[in-house]
């Protein structure tokens, strides 16, 4: 009797334990993309979305070009169509044109797309044309897992306009097999007299990158280079420049604005902190791969992810690409905070402070909203909720060029990367620790989110690219940017920009 009872208990326990797996398999058989996890229960899981019937309805989406974000958009559109019977039309648009492609019809009072993808810093220009995320989705299981900072990123004045599908920040990626290699450390010490380690300052980064530039240091028969960076004009290069600037120009002892002085709205962009960073960047043109000053984000991902460079910094994508199964450098890379600086500019005293400073740059990332004038809003929100459901999100995270990066609390668990993606434990730990530390930092910089943001960032791209091309000195280039910023502030209205900028400053000053 006892044996029968024990067997029965074992069978029941087995059924209870394995039933989620059996349930998951039902969907992963049809949708191999989620084979690693199967369906993960939630309000927008495969199971729940399959209960919706959108037959005869069409959902129109404008997204980025393939692969970054464009590929997961198309993939999840196909899955969504299969599950609900809806027709989903996906239009792919280059990054630089996403803003205007949505703004032109918005301004004309039309809604050719139900869903528009863009960057999260468009929020201030787009929010008046976007439908706020309904309560139903705000209370969904998927949304409850989103980190507090990314709920904030997607919201304005407490109302969420952008549905969280991605979360980005810039951090340092390096070749662990080189930096941690005792032979390389010995060689570097012998040749330079310095210690080879994960760089903690941009100067150190530059020295190491220069040393490891232009020779075959991994023995694959090809030349390797120092650093892969986004330097191509108009291809998010402004974000790369800010990453290099934060260490010199974000002083925790001078609250009240990184980009502008909030009180006077005078641009800080040409102060010695930014100029020093641009000087470093101009120097970096000497240790990037040939053609590196024309690298866009895709090139950077391909270059570092393909094992061509020692360092890289920017979005997660290059790191994830390097850690994919087909990568030649899987489990040979490490993540660390952005390098800092041995001095930081104090814009109040107008002097350098000779002490170590490091500041994370939370770039955020891809954002998406539903047009206020869309006639299929519910279907649109269902699609977005499905896009970022547990199973899709975990599968997307594992693909470097998908452009989907951690923004959920569950993403900071190293086990996720060890178990589902086959990462080495120390790499997974360093990765999640790096991201976690950035979330906790009190000296963060957030992107500019003011009216006409594209005018400001475009001015930065033009000015810095002139410096990289040798057309202007760093000071001249940034003086030109500052002049342009002042003109934009005057056009938009000082009070308007000040009002918008105050929201970002509050976040940077840890008051939100």
């Amino acid at each position: 009797m006892k044996i029968t009872k024990t067997c029965l208990s074992a069978i029941i326990s087995g059924v209870l334990i394995f039933s989620p797996m059996a349930y998951a398999d039902k969907w992963s058989d049809q949708f191999p993309h989620i084979k690693a996890t199967g369906d993960i229960p939630g309000d927008c899981s495969y199971e729940e979305i399959s209960k919706k019937n959108y037959k005869g309805k069409t959902l129109k989406i404008n997204t980025h070009a393939v692969p970054v974000i464009g590929q997961p958009t198309a993939l999840h559109a196909e899955q969504f169509a299969k599950l609900t019977g809806a027709k989903v039309d996906v239009t792919h648009t280059p990054a630089g044109d996403l803003y205007a492609k949505a703004m032109v019809p918005f301004k004309a009072g039309q809604a050719p797309y139900d869903i528009v993808f863009g960057f999260s810093n468009f929020i201030n220009d787009w929010r008046q044309y976007l439908a706020p995320v309904p309560k139903k989705y705000m209370n969904s299981t998927e949304m409850k897992d989103v980190t507090k900072s990314h709920v904030g990123v997607s919201s304005w004045d407490g109302t969420m306009y952008q549905y969280p599908v991605d979360g980005d920040r810039h951090y340092l990626k390096y070749r662990k097999d080189v930096i941690d290699n005792p032979e390389m450390q010995k060689k570097y010490k012998a040749d330079t007299g310095k210690t080879l380690r994960v760089p903690t300052t941009w100067k150190e980064y530059g020295e190491m990158a220069k040393y490891f530039n232009g020779w075959d240091w991994d023995g694959d028969g090809e030349k390797e280079y120092g650093s892969a960076e986004v330097m191509k004009k108009d291809d998010l290069m402004f974000a790369a420049f800010f990453s290099r600037s934060v260490a010199y120009a974000k002083n925790p002892r001078t609250p009240g604005g990184f980009f502008f002085d909030l009180e006077t709205m005078k641009p800080n962009i040409n102060n010695p902190g930014f100029v020093e960073a641009l000087g470093d960047w101009v120097e970096a043109t000497k240790y990037v791969p040939p053609g590196g000053i024309n690298f866009g984000l895709g090139d950077e991902i391909g270059s570092f992810g393909g094992g061509q460079t020692l360092f890289s910094f920017s979005w997660d994508d290059a790191f994830i690409a390097a850690m994919q199964d087909d990568s030649p450098i899987k489990n040979k890379v490490g993540a660390a905070p952005l390098p800092g600086a041995d001095k930081v500019w104090n814009r109040v005293s107008g002097k350098w402070e000779n002490q170590y400073n490091q500041a994370p740059y939370i770039v955020w990332g891809w954002a998406v909203g539903v047009a206020k004038k869309s006639k299929v809003q519910e279907m649109a929100f269902d699609y977005l909720c499905f896009f970022s459901n547990g199973a899709n999100h975990q599968a997307d995270l594992a693909i470097g060029n998908f452009g989907v990066n951690p923004f959920k609390n569950s993403d900071f668990d190293p086990q996720l990367y060890i178990n589902t993606m086959g990462w080495d434990a120390d790499i997974a730990n360093s990765y999640t620790k790096t991201l976690n530390d950035m979330e906790k930092s009190k000296n963060r910089v957030f992107p500019l989110r003011v009216r006409g943001v594209f005018e400001f960032t475009s001015a930065v791209a033009t000015g810095t690219s002139k410096a990289l091309a040798g057309q202007l000195s760093p000071q001249e280039a940034l003086d030109e940017v500052a002049k342009e910023w002042e003109a934009i502030v005057n056009r938009v209205g000082k009070k308007n920009v000040q009002e918008d900028y105050a929201v970002g400053v509050k976040m940077e000053d840890n008051k939100l």
Partner: protein
């Protein structure tokens, strides 16, 4: 014919003309007098945009002079190469038809796709051009050196549009009367003299037409720059149309972009009229 009936037949064409030509121009002029951007509507701001353009935007004028250099250089090269190729296949040569088709192929391809392919060719670390040149110890910075990047744009433009020049000039050569050539042959003129004193003067009217058509097209150069260099490095390959595109569709300064477009249109109409007159004077003086 009844006077009213005449208008009935004219109206459809007139409506189309108004719809596709007159209305957009009027709208651009109206737009140029507004501050339409991401935060303003179609408000009226008078000549503010034009004042900004003429007094505070050296980048527009730099891009205009860069465009002038690129379009004149590419069209001259296209004319010389196109004329040479047309002259070659005008004569009875072996595989004449094959060459005539071969020379037209670049024009039949999609410019954007071909530019992507050229960008791949000229990629400085992964492209085949530098791969070959590296055997001779050379790795030119095709897309990242300000001067070479301009040359790269010229190469791609010349490759893409020489066939158009070739086609026009070949049609011209085929339509030339035979008598002057027979007379020159009887007089014992050498091939060079025949070209200088017979072929070239006879081809002058067609040459002027071909050059003007290509200059108009070349002055709109945008796709090659957009795909190949994005106007970089720095602003070294930025042309007027690319700059207008950045201001209008990237930064969404629609009103200001409209004022630049309208100014550019006026400048082009005036300058091309003078160029056409100059060429006519130069080539048709006799």
């Amino acid at each position: 014919m009844n006077f009213k009936h005449k208008y009935v037949f004219l109206f459809p064409g007139l409506f189309v003309l108004i719809g596709i030509l007159i209305f957009p121009i009027i709208f651009v002029v109206r737009l140029s007098l507004s501050g339409w951007n991401s935060y303003n509507g179609l408000n009226f701001i008078g000549l503010e945009n034009y004042i900004r353009l003429f007094t505070d935007d050296p980048r527009f004028w730099q891009s205009f002079f860069r465009l002038s250099f690129l379009s004149v250089t590419t069209v001259v090269l296209q004319y010389v190469i196109g004329f040479a190729l047309a002259h070659m296949v005008w004569k009875d040569i072996k595989f004449q038809r094959f060459f005539r088709v071969l020379f037209l192929i670049p024009m039949m391809t999609t410019p954007v796709i071909m530019t992507v392919i050229w960008r791949t060719f000229f990629h400085e670390s992964l492209g085949p051009v530098n791969d070959i040149l590296s055997n001779f110890g050379m790795t030119p910075k095709w897309l990242t050196d300000p001067t070479l990047a301009k040359i790269t744009v010229i190469i791609v433009e010349v490759w893409q549009w020489t066939p158009f020049m070739f086609l026009l000039l070949l049609a011209g050569l085929l339509s030339l009367p035979k008598e002057p050539f027979l007379a020159a042959a009887i007089d014992g003129a050498s091939p060079v003299r025949k070209f200088i004193y017979v072929t070239f003067p006879l081809m002058a009217p067609i040459s002027i037409g071909a050059i003007i058509i290509r200059l108009i097209e070349a002055s709109k150069i945008m796709d090659t720059v957009y795909v190949l260099t994005s106007g970089g490095p720095g602003t070294s390959t930025e042309t007027s149309s690319f700059y207008i595109f950045i201001k209008g569709l990237r930064e969404f300064q629609m009103g200001y972009a409209a004022s630049m477009s309208f100014t550019y249109l006026i400048i082009m109409i005036i300058s091309l009229t003078f160029i056409a007159k100059g060429l006519t004077k130069l080539l048709l003086k006799d």
